[in-house]
C-alpha cells in the first residue's frame, strides 16, 4: 500500500471522527479495529443477531450520524475489523495482524492516528484472578455486544462513575447487581458536583433512579477485601469490608472490578520515519463526547500536516469544558490510595500473565524494576505489563528505606510488537517496497 494512506487505529467515535475529517480533506484512510465491529467501547454495537440494548435517542443519533458520514466516504475510507495493530517499527513500517487467521499486512502509511480508547485500572486483590472476576468494562462489553447480561448474580466494586452506569445498564437488562461497592464518598462533595454540566447531572440522576427502582444498594466507602472460589450455589465468595470496618461475605457468580481509567497507549511511539498521533481517550481520558471532538481536531491537524487544509483549533473550548467536568468528577471520585505491598495478603497475584504474587516480589528482596522483570518475571507476560505495571512501580518505590526506591529503569518499556501476533503471519507478509516511501 502506498505512502498516501493514513492509518487510523481504533474504530470508536474518536477514530471514526478523525477518519471522516481526513476524508473531507481528500485523504485516503485505512481504519482498523481489533473488535469484530466498529463502535469502540461507548458505542459498542450488538452482534448481528443479538438483541439491541435500549439506548437514549441522542446516543443512537450521534452514532448513526458518524457512521452515515463514514459510509458516504466509502471511496476514501476503508474500514477493516478483526485487525490488530501490532505497532510501528523504526523504519516506518506499520504491522497489522489479521485475527481471522489471514496473513499479516505490512504498510508504510503517511501518518498514523491511534484512537484505541482507555484501559481500566484494576488493583490486585486477594483471589482477584478467580474465574468470574472481570473488569466492569468487560461486563459492559458482554452486555452491549450480546444484548443480554451474563446469567447469575453480579457484584460491582472499585471506584468511579462507571460502576453506577453499568449497574443501571445491568438493571435495565433484567439482572440488577446484588450491590455496588465504591471506595469513594461523592456525597461529601455534593456541592462541587453541582458544577458538572447539566448533561452529566441528568445522566447521574438517570442511573441513580434506575438503581433505586431496582433496589440495588450502593455501599460508599466500601471495598472488596478478598475473593475465594464459591460453593455449589455461587461461583464466588466475596469478602466485603464496609466503611465502618465490618466484614461480611456475599456469594455471586460474577464480580466486576474497576478502579479508574487510563489512556490505552502502550507502545505508541513516534518513529523518525513516521509520525504517530493519539486522539480521544487514548490521548486524554475525557469521555465519548470529547473523544468525538478530539477525533475531528486531530484528524484536521493530520490533514494540515499532509498538506490538505488549514488547521485552526476550533474544538479547544468544547474539549476544555469536558476537561473541567472530568476534574470535578475526580474530586467526587478521588484515586484510591496506592496499593500497599507491605500490608497486602501474600497470595495476591500482582502479575496475572506470569502468575506472580506479592510473596514472589517480597522474595526478591531489594530489587530494581529491571531485576523484578528479569529475575522475577513480573510484567513479562503477553499483556506486556499493561495491567500490573503501575502496581509494580508503586510497590518498588513504596518504601524508600529498603533500597527499592533505586528504580532506575521504568517498569514498562515499549517493545515491538505491542501485542502478540502469529509468527507465521508476519513471515508470510510482504514487506512494502522502501521506494514507495518516496511516492
Amino acid at each position: 500500500m502506498a505512502r498516501n494512506v493514513v492509518l487510523v487505529v481504533g474504530a470508536g467515535i474518536a477514530g471514526i471522527s478523525a477518519a471522516n475529517v481526513l476524508a473531507d480533506a481528500g485523504q485516503e484512510v485505512l481504519l482498523v479495529d481489533q473488535a469484530p465491529q466498529a463502535g469502540g467501547n461507548f458505542y459498542r454495537q450488538s452482534f448481528p443477531e443479538a438483541r439491541e440494548l435500549p439506548r437514549p435517542r441522542r446516543v443512537r443519533e450521534r452514532w448513526q450520524g458518524a457512521m452515515a458520514r463514514l459510509q458516504a466516504h466509502g471511496d476514501k475510507i476503508s474500514l477493516r475489523c478483526s485487525v490488530r495493530f501490532a505497532g510501528v517499527d523504526h523504519t516506518g513500517v506499520a504491522c497489522l495482524s489479521d485475527l481471522k487467521g489471514n496473513n499479516d499486512h505490512l504498510l508504510r502509511p503517511a501518518a498514523v492516528i491511534v484512537a484505541t480508547g482507555a484501559t481500566e485500572c484494576v488493583r490486585p486483590r486477594p483471589g482477584g484472578t478467580t474465574p468470574g472476576v472481570m473488569t466492569v468494562g468487560a461486563l459492559q462489553t458482554l452486555l452491549k455486544s450480546s444484548g443480554e447480561s451474563p446469567n447469575g448474580p453480579i457484584v460491582l466494586a472499585g471506584t468511579g462513575p462507571l460502576l453506577m452506569a453499568v449497574g443501571a445498564q445491568l438493571a435495565k437488562a433484567g439482572n440488577p447487581p446484588l450491590c455496588i461497592l465504591d471506595t469513594a464518598r461523592p456525597y461529601r462533595r455534593a456541592l462541587s458536583g453541582l458544577r458538572l454540566p447539566a448533561s452529566y447531572l441528568l445522566e447521574a440522576v438517570d442511573y441513580l433512579g434506575t438503581l433505586v427502582r431496582a433496589g440495588v444498594p450502593i455501599y460508599w466507602g466500601a471495598e472488596v477485601a478478598g475473593i475465594a472460589p464459591g460453593d455449589r450455589h455461587h461461583r464466588l465468595k466475596i469478602s466485603i469490608q464496609t466503611r465502618g470496618g465490618k466484614r461480611r461475605q456475599i456469594g455471586a457468580d460474577y464480580l466486576g472490578l474497576h478502579d479508574g481509567l487510563k489512556p490505552n497507549d502502550y507502545g505508541v511511539t513516534t518513529e523518525p520515519e513516521l509520525k504517530v498521533w493519539r486522539t480521544g481517550d487514548c490521548r486524554e481520558v475525557l469521555g465519548a463526547r470529547a473523544a468525538a471532538l478530539d477525533g475531528e481536531r486531530i484528524g484536521s491537524q493530520v490533514a494540515d500536516y499532509l498538506g490538505g487544509g488549514k488547521f485552526s483549533d476550533r474544538w479547544a473550548p468544547d474539549i476544555a469544558r469536558h476537561r473541567q467536568a472530568q476534574a470535578v468528577l475526580h474530586l467526587l471520585y478521588p484515586d484510591m490510595r496506592p496499593f500497599d505491598i507491605a500490608g497486602a495478603d501474600k497470595t495476591t497475584v500482582l502479575c496475572r500473565c506470569e502468575n506472580r504474587t506479592v510473596e514472589d516480589l517480597r522474595a526478591l528482596g531489594q530489587t530494581t524494576a529491571k531485576q523484578a522483570r528479569l529475575l522475577g518475571r513480573f510484567a513479562m507476560g503477553p499483556c506486556q505489563g499493561r495491567f500490573c505495571g503501575e502496581t509494580l512501580a508503586a510497590s518498588l518505590t513504596a518504601n524508600p528505606d529498603d533500597g527499592r526506591s533505586a528504580v532506575a529503569s521504568p517498569v514498562l518499556s515499549s517493545r515491538w510488537p505491542i501485542a502478540p501476533i502469529r509468527v507465521q503471519g508476519i513471515v508470510d507478509a510482504e514487506l512494502p517496497d522502501p521506494s514507495s516511501a518516496n511516492e
Binding site: N41, P48, T135, T141, R235
Partner: protein, 92 residues
C-alpha cells in the same frame, strides 16, 4: 442460533457474528482451563488487552475468546490441549 462450536467436544450453539466469549459464558463455562504459567484462563478485560481469555483453536493455535468470532464447526479447548503438530498455524 446459526450454528455450533465445540468446546472440549461439547457442541454449543452460537448466533452469527458472536464471539467465543459470549457463547462460553452463556453455556456457564467461565473457567477456560490453566494457562502455561498455571493461572486460570477466563474473561478479564473483555476487549483484547489482557490476554487472560486465551483458548486453543484446533488447527489454528491460540486466540483470545473475547475477540474470536465463532465459525461453524470450530473446535476449541483449553490452551495446550491439542498436540502441537495438529495446531500449527497453517492448518496442515
Amino acid at each position: 442460533m446459526s450454528g455450533v462450536i465445540h468446546w472440549h467436544g461439547k457442541a454449543l450453539p452460537f448466533r452469527k457474528g458472536e464471539t467465543v466469549a459470549t457463547v462460553l459464558l452463556r453455556a456457564g463455562v467461565v473457567d477456560f482451563g490453566a494457562s502455561a504459567t498455571g493461572q486460570r484462563c477466563s474473561i478479564f478485560c473483555g476487549i483484547g488487552q489482557c490476554q487472560s481469555c486465551l483458548v486453543e483453536v484446533k488447527s489454528r493455535g491460540v486466540a483470545e475468546a473475547c475477540l474470536l468470532i465463532c465459525e461453524e464447526g470450530m473446535h476449541l479447548s483449553s490452551v495446550g490441549e491439542y498436540p502441537l503438530a495438529e495446531s500449527g498455524t497453517h492448518g496442515s
